[in-house]
């Protein structure tokens, strides 16, 4: 009588679903997110090597098209692709034929005609990557679309938290700042809830999305189901395992959403006093770029609880994992 355990290698890969694009986290399962993170572990080890180069995506071409300013996300994708051996071509909208009036669709169709293997795209209009993905066969990765989504940021946030503090399930994450215009907040809320975290958001009433009423929870049937909204930053941070601080854009003041940055800082800014209300081992995170002295004070931004630089390093590993998985599947015809 022999007990035969089925080898794990034979189990079908979780990534065997129909995924071609990464547009937001709302269509990811928890298992898929976990598979991205498992791959990111392997990629992170490559980042620590003396020779930071592998031939995994040799002969593949990754194009990044940024219709909006970005340094860290674009460089992060570029580095991720190059370490995996892909050729990475960066297109910035200001230096392309977009300035000559070419439509978005024609621009990306031209790029696809050049036989590219993945398109990484940032666009100021929410939904633009969905429009492009509908018209192209090439895998599309959303590197930020308007105020809608920033899925790779959310994945690297999940990865950073889980690898430093273990499973997100049951953990309490406070997201502080401009929830209305933040694509990071939206993707983070979806991702953190999928992983089972308790999510509390807080920001000025003028910078909360419709339906986000302080003192209430977001009802069932929306992607933000179960997210709690509170009015005071002290209440949001109290007992938190993670404090995620969002960037306050100066334009919000001009648009009348904020009386002044100084007032924002006084009411909602994260400093040693407010961070002190979180758990003693709480992680302080920020998607960058920071406005030190506005939404976050310099001492905590560079203090012992800050994992902001860790987020940047993990971003490369997570994006390597995504490029690797999407390029492999594209060539496979999706089987």
């Amino acid at each position: 009588m022999r007990r035969v355990a089925e080898p794990r290698e034979n189990q079908s890969a979780l990534w065997a679903g129909p995924r071609r694009d990464v547009l937001d986290l709302d269509d990811f399962t928890k298992a898929e997110i976990e598979e991205v993170m498992a791959n990111a572990d392997g990629m992170k080890e490559v980042l620590g090597r003396g020779v930071r180069k592998t031939p995994a995506l040799r002969g593949k071409t990754v194009v990044t098209v940024f219709f909006e300013a970005s340094t860290r996300t674009r460089v992060s994708f570029e580095q991720a692709g190059k370490i995996l051996g892909a050729d990475v071509i960066n297109v910035t909208a200001s230096a392309s034929s977009v300035t000559k009036g070419e439509s978005l669709l024609n621009t990306v169709r031209t790029l696809q005609a050049m036989q590219i293997d993945a398109l990484v795209m940032r666009h100021p209009h929410s939904g633009a990557p969905y429009f492009v993905a509908r018209h192209l066969d090439t895998p599309v990765i959303n590197a930020g679309d308007g105020t809608h989504a920033h899925p790779t940021q959310a994945l690297l946030d999940i990865y950073t938290i889980e690898r430093l503090r273990g499973k997100l399930a049951g953990k309490r994450v406070a997201i502080i700042g401009d929830i209305l215009y933040s694509r990071v907040a939206r993707s983070d809320m979806i991702g953190f809830r999928k992983m089972g975290a308790e999510v509390v958001v807080c920001g000025p009433p003028t910078l909360l999305p419709p339906g986000f009423v302080p003192g209430s929870s977001i009802p069932e049937g929306t992607p933000y189901e179960g997210v709690r909204v509170v009015g005071r930053v002290e209440e949001a941070v109290d007992g938190a395992d993670v404090v995620m601080v969002l960037r306050i854009q100066r334009e919000r003041q001009d648009a009348g959403h904020l009386p002044s940055l100084r007032e924002y800082s006084r009411e909602y800014g994260i400093n040693s006093a407010t961070l002190g209300l979180a758990r003693p081992d709480a992680l302080l995170m920020h998607p960058g770029p920071m406005n030190e002295g506005v939404e976050i004070s310099s001492d905590v931004a560079h203090g012992s609880q800050s994992v902001i630089e860790e987020q940047v390093a993990n971003g490369v590993a997570v994006r390597m994992a995504l490029l690797y998985m999407l390029c492999a599947r594209a060539r496979n015809g999706g089987s």
Partner: protein, 184 residues
């Protein structure tokens, strides 16, 4: 499909002990030999061989693990399972390194593993130890240490089972249905 047992737990244990002795015999005069197991089962095999070497020689031996997935020539297949971190926390320059894997088949995994190893340094030699050599090589690669040579057909499958992963030790041969032929 019925499985044929081709090595019992005892036979596997003896084979690993013999391989440990052979590795020591062949590398006696060299700088300390290092062992690197190939994911997944090679990692556990390397640890077991390292334990045997430590027991015979009364000295520790460097043992690491390697995932050659990022160096393979079949990206679509390789990416079906997550890439695991490679752990080689010792200098591999100018010393013999023995790669350890469960089954030697086409040789393509070993080719990828040698490429990966090169990114960590330049060993004085790279040797190969496997539990089963099942033939059907597609590259000019041969093992230096073999637990058992098993002539096979291509539609057969050889599985080395280890208690760390599979709950029990042993090697079995089975037929696979069409479309189920995985390389191992």
């Amino acid at each position: 499909m019925p499985e044929i047992e081709i090595m019992t737990a005892d036979q596997l244990r003896r084979a690993l002990n013999r391989i440990a002795h052979e590795i020591l015999e062949r590398n006696a005069g060299d700088r300390a030999v290092a062992l690197v197991g190939i994911q997944t089962r090679g990692v556990y095999l390397a640890r077991r061989i390292a334990e045997a070497v430590t027991e015979f020689e009364k000295r520790p031996v460097d043992v690491g693990s390697l995932d050659p997935r990022l160096y393979r020539d079949d990206l679509d297949q390789a990416a079906r399972h997550p890439v695991k971190p490679t752990e080689i926390k010792f200098d591999i320059n100018d010393r013999p390194v023995v790669l350890i894997d469960d089954v030697l088949y086409t040789g393509r995994t070993i080719r990828a593993a040698m490429d990966a190893l090169n990114d960590f340094g330049r060993p004085s030699s790279i040797q190969l130890a496997v539990v089963v050599d099942r033939g059907h090589r597609e590259l000019p690669i041969r093992p230096d240490y073999v637990g058992k040579n098993v002539p096979t057909a291509r539609d057969e499958r050889v599985r080395v089972r280890l208690r760390e992963v599979d709950g029990e030790d042993g090697v079995v041969l089975s037929k696979v249905g069409e479309g189920d032929a995985t390389r191992s």
